[in-house]
Amino acid sequence: MTITSILRLVGWRLLAGVGVLWGAATLTFLVLHFTPGDPAQAIVGGENAAPTPEVIAQVTAEYGLDQPWYLQYLDHLWRIVRGDLGTSYRLHTPVTQAIGEQAAATVELALAAAVIGLALALAVAVATAKRRRWIRGLAAGSELVVASTPTFWLGIVLLTVFSFGLRLFPATGSHGLASLVLPALALALPIAGVLGHVLREALEEVLDEPFIVSARTRGLADLTVRLRHALRHALMPLVTMTGYWVGALLGGAVITETLFTRQGIGRLLISAVNAKDLPVVLGVVLLSAWIYVLVNLVVDLLYLAIDPRLRPVAGVRPVAKGVS
């Protein structure tokens, strides 16, 4: 394994990521360009505004709406490269500013849910894989129920029991740790169900491998075998599913923030959808695509760290991961 071959691999992954980003930016241009209605009208305040022809002409010139489409497309790409996602039709502020103001609350929620979901999945899988029949049955059953429960209903049930029933946590708001508990749980549990299921099945497969038997014959304790030898291998399918759970976290944040009346990008997105505020909608969606690409890039590099078999050997093509 040489440094250059690793660098080349990383370079290709980066290039593929940039390709997807470019495609995503193009998609947002197509949506903006082909949505029925006059963009100049939308910029000055939507269907109900009655701007003078002069104002329309001014906006048209300012946003380059009278330019041929390919110039508008290049301008669109150039703006995005410079970090300019346009101006909100509704708020009349830059989209990046609108998103920036809401970002912290959503990051807090998503991180809390990711940590809870992953910890639960790991704990249940390590504790129950290859145990007695009824324990495995119980784990599989709970995973199925939790994974099938929609976040918005789980949230309502949690609110019913813990907020209005036992009065342990506040029902709304985004201030302090107490207001984070129920939303993070509602977001985390369905994801934990899916991840736990995948992890447990992988762990059960790994625990049958000869190297596990050999570790056990060396007299290692059961928990040590599970944590130090089996888990490393069982983590692979979980890493493969990163796309799934990043998407689930981002999509779920929209629902969780609405249900718990929390601040955040999800709430911003829903009010933008309702107001047909396309620049904000497309800005949030583009941002989520960037996060997806970035996370996948990190995951691809993590693969190389976790599994030495994937590292390129001089003169040998690296093994492709999964079905591409």
């Binding site: 199925l144 994974a147 929609p150 209903w153 629902i255 609405t258 249900l259 989520s288 690409v293 079905v323």
Partner: protein
């Protein structure tokens, strides 16, 4: 009877389909009948699962909502499967250029979380049941394109397709008689499980106020209103969501059993 759970799940699905087709068989109450004297009544005689803020019967609204909710799940998957399937088939059978163009575009589609992609469609096309169905269907296309392509590639390299070519069968005949039927089955089985998540996504849009509008009964839209009455009427928020969860569990259990059976494993 190896797994009673699978039969139970199948029975629930049969009941759900029956409720979608003929809801009046399950309840005599009108799901839209307002009764201002009996608002937010707890479950009891007369109203099995209680009443909502307009005095409408929650049970009959859940029963009548089955049709719309199932339609969202199955309809969206049908759209995703049809268009994703055609694209995947074209990518799996076409030349490298066709394959690369289709797969790179689906890579871009996959970078967007499905719910967010659906929200873009809603922003452009507007809300409502049929647009929600369309939005979730469109958001699912890249995933199925990828799935069907992988399946097509496996089958294209198989010995029986090679044999069919060697026997001198024409290319379209090989595709439609040998590749397509064998690619469809495993994908259909995976799509069964997909119906569950499409149903959840559909009712999520209704919950966000962008899918089925009130007063038409739909599970997600019921929860959207119930949200405002959690402190006073637990039954209103609990039962419609239980219907969603039960449906998703049943679909998943049946789908998994079908998959295990098609792989020749015991279920």
């Amino acid at each position: 009877m190896k797994r009673p759970g699978v039969y139970l799940a199948a029975a629930v699905l049969v009941l759900l389909v029956l409720a979608a087709v003929a809801p009046h068989l399950f309840t005599a109450q009108d799901p839209l009948a307002v009764d201002s004297a009996r608002t937010l009544k707890p479950p009891g005689a007369g109203h099995l699962l209680g009443t909502d803020e307009n005095g409408r019967d929650v049970f009959s609204r859940i029963v009548y909502g089955t049709r719309t909710s199932l339609l969202l799940g199955f309809g969206a998957i049908a759209i995703a499967l049809t268009f994703g399937g055609l694209l995947g088939l074209a990518a799996g059978l076409g030349n490298r250029l066709v394959e690369n163009v289709i797969m790179r575009i689906s890579d871009i589609g996959l970078a967007f979380p499905e719910l967010l992609l659906a929200l873009v469609v809603i922003t452009v096309a507007g809300g409502g049941t049929s647009n929600a169905l369309l939005a979730i269907g469109v958001a699912g296309i890249p995933g199925y394109a990828r799935l069907v392509r992988a399946q097509t590639l496996t089958i294209r390299g198989s010995s029986y397709v090679e044999a069919a070519h060697a026997l001198g069968l024409s290319a379209p005949r090989v595709v439609f008689r040998h590749v397509l039927p064998n690619a469809v089955k495993p994908v259909l089985i995976l799509a069964t499980i997909g119906v569950g998540s499409a149903l959840v996504a559909g009712s999520a849009l209704s919950f966000l106020g962008l899918g089925t509008p009130p007063p038409e009964p739909e599970w997600g839209s019921m929860l959207s209103t119930a949200r405002n009455f959690i402190s006073r009427a637990w039954w209103y928020g609990v039962f419609p969501g239980a219907a969603i969860t039960l449906t998703v569990i049943s679909v998943t259990v049946v789908g998994r059993a079908l998959r295990l059976r098609s792989e020749g494993k015991s279920w």
